[in-house]
Amino acid sequence: MLSQIVSALMVMVVGVFAAAAYFYLTNRILDLALPDTGDVAKASRNLRTRAMIRPWLFLGPAVLLLTIYLVYPVIATLILSFYGRDAQDFVGFSNYLWAVNDAGFRQSIFNNILWLAVVPAACTFFGLIIAVMTDRLAWGNVAKSLVFMPMAISFVGASVIWKFIYDYRGDGQIQIGILNAIVQYLGGKPEVWLAIPFWNNFFLMVILIWIQTGFAMVILSAALRGIPEETIEAAVIDGASGWQIFWKIMVPQIWGTIATVWTTITILVLKVFDIVLTMTNGQWNSEVLANLMFGWMFQGGGDSGRSAAIAVVLMLAVTPIMIWNIRRANEEMKGR
């Protein structure tokens, strides 16, 4: 056991060290290759060249990794989407045509829009509220950790948890799902929550909100802490109430971060399939694109063409978000 730990440690150190060494060494080499000593004209020429090269040293590993691990598969996916299920024969747009005509696909699009409308907003909202409120609390850190905890639970664990919450036993029997237990206690009839079309989407969303609020909270609380204390003090003196300070002083100052969190969760919503897969597997009209894609990719050997087509649709769905982010970035960079 000890030797395992030691060797694991060695491996880790080597791995992390290699990454750090890359950055250090390449930068050293650049500085040595283009010295900034000597006559100013030459030095500043060298420096300009450095300034042109250095961004790529910084970006190099990221770009390389992104290209191999993400761009290349994306291109492969794009190509696959024009091929049949075995990636053997070219089929043109027929995978897309199929998708448009597929009821499941249309259902997924509808559900995804629903998810996109609810989940990012809810996560950001709760995350912000919790971050702000716990920030001013003695037991704030404990509260935060508790809210954060779902993030740390694996999806399998989370689905077990929520199965227990939504569990349904026949009317009159002992309910082991707390939701139905409450309903029954209040005199209502127990429901099979996950089998109520349309509304079941919301029961699934609750799970993701439950998990992701911790994410929003952590990021937003980091941002909140970056707000200059004086501006809040100034507002306090201006007579603003806590509520007003929150909405008029704090929120606008971390607007960028809110947008970041929103974007991140939006994209995550597009990707998430584990919850749907384990809770309903898209039944009772709760299908979403990512799960649909997953199903076509692996179930029964899969159909690479169709799953690729759905993946392409997924990727296209982020284009507006992408454009919006770029706009925002460009605005920030003005005068820099």
Partner: protein, 432 residues
Amino acid sequence: ADLKFKPGEDSKFNWASYDAYKKAHGDLKGETLTIFGPWRGEDEKLVTTVLNYFSEATGVTVKYSSSENYEQQIVIDTQAGSPPNIAILPQPGLLADLASKGFLTPLGDDMSKWIKDNYGAGQSWVDLGTYKGKDGKKAFFAFPYKADVKSLVWYSPENFKEAGYKIPATMEDLKALTEKIVKDGGTPWCIGLGSGGATGWPATDWVEDLMLRTTTPENYDKWTTNELKFNDPIVEKAIDEFGWFAKNDKFVDGGAKAVASTDFRDSPKGLFGVPPKCYMHRQASFIPSFFPDGTKLGKDADFFYFPPYASHPELGKPVEGAGTLVTIAKDSKAARAFIAFLQTPIAHEVWMAQSSFLTPYKAVNTATYANDTMRKEGELLTTATTFRFDGSDLMPGKIGAGAFWTGMVDYVSGKSSAQVADQIQKAWDGLK
């Protein structure tokens, strides 16, 4: 590796076959065999006891692994070119797909002949493992090992005795019993289709069992290849027969609403409620592992054969079953030796003697079954007049592990059999 039963000690076991095997394959020291299988948890421990005998005999180092998403993993690994030596899967549909893409190695005609000769209902097992290869030619790819019987109805003998219920011999009797229990104030059935991402599959077993009891085995076979359309009245009738049981609020524990959402693993627990929540539960031979701890098979719980219709005497006593299939995904001497090992009775008996293992292999000593219930199940397997495999496993994955499941959930949730059948057929059409 330590061997669970010492070779030569217990005479129930066919040690001779083991010794012979050892002699023939004892020269593989240093080789490694990677096996990817569906068995996890308790089952993994059991299969390891069997694998230990193989290692012991051949000197091969076996690396067995499994996971929640092993099906996904197999697809990824084979397509990426790093498959395990041996892939064991319970889904013939998926194997057919892998075979058609050229990822599996045919086991050869000798092997298929051997299965045909040595397994009960041998031809059906051969058919189960025969797929089209990459070249389009049919070949035998999958060696069946470990089977399940599906046509079982579980009950509590003492509850039956207390209420004075008799074990029904025909479907008509079963239906009469169902109604009688309701009249007595009880609930006859526990049915649960819930299974996470696979929700719906227990219903497909019901429909398949009922297909075998309402139409010919030939139609059944055609049905699994869609020669018989899914929305054929024959199929719809079988679905409706299932509906007779499942869609009646009085017949099922929790009402029809509960059927789709109750987990299949929780469902049988109703049999053991005090007072009982239900009296009968139709499920395959693996289900006792989900009975409460300490349940004694034969005493606290037992099964009876899911009976045929008296109105269809020509269909005899059909049995539905399933099995895991062993394939070679990366050929090697050790892989071949492993298949050969599975041909020895001892490879079956070791597991039989522990629990939850049935085999259609006729040469095994049934005395090694761990208990009577298993023995009875085993006999059902070897003596069936008609034996058919789980139809949904034979259908293409997108149907058998997709549209069919979803359809059945929709069906118990309210849709009509015609709607559902149309919907599934449409999905099937979409595959072509």
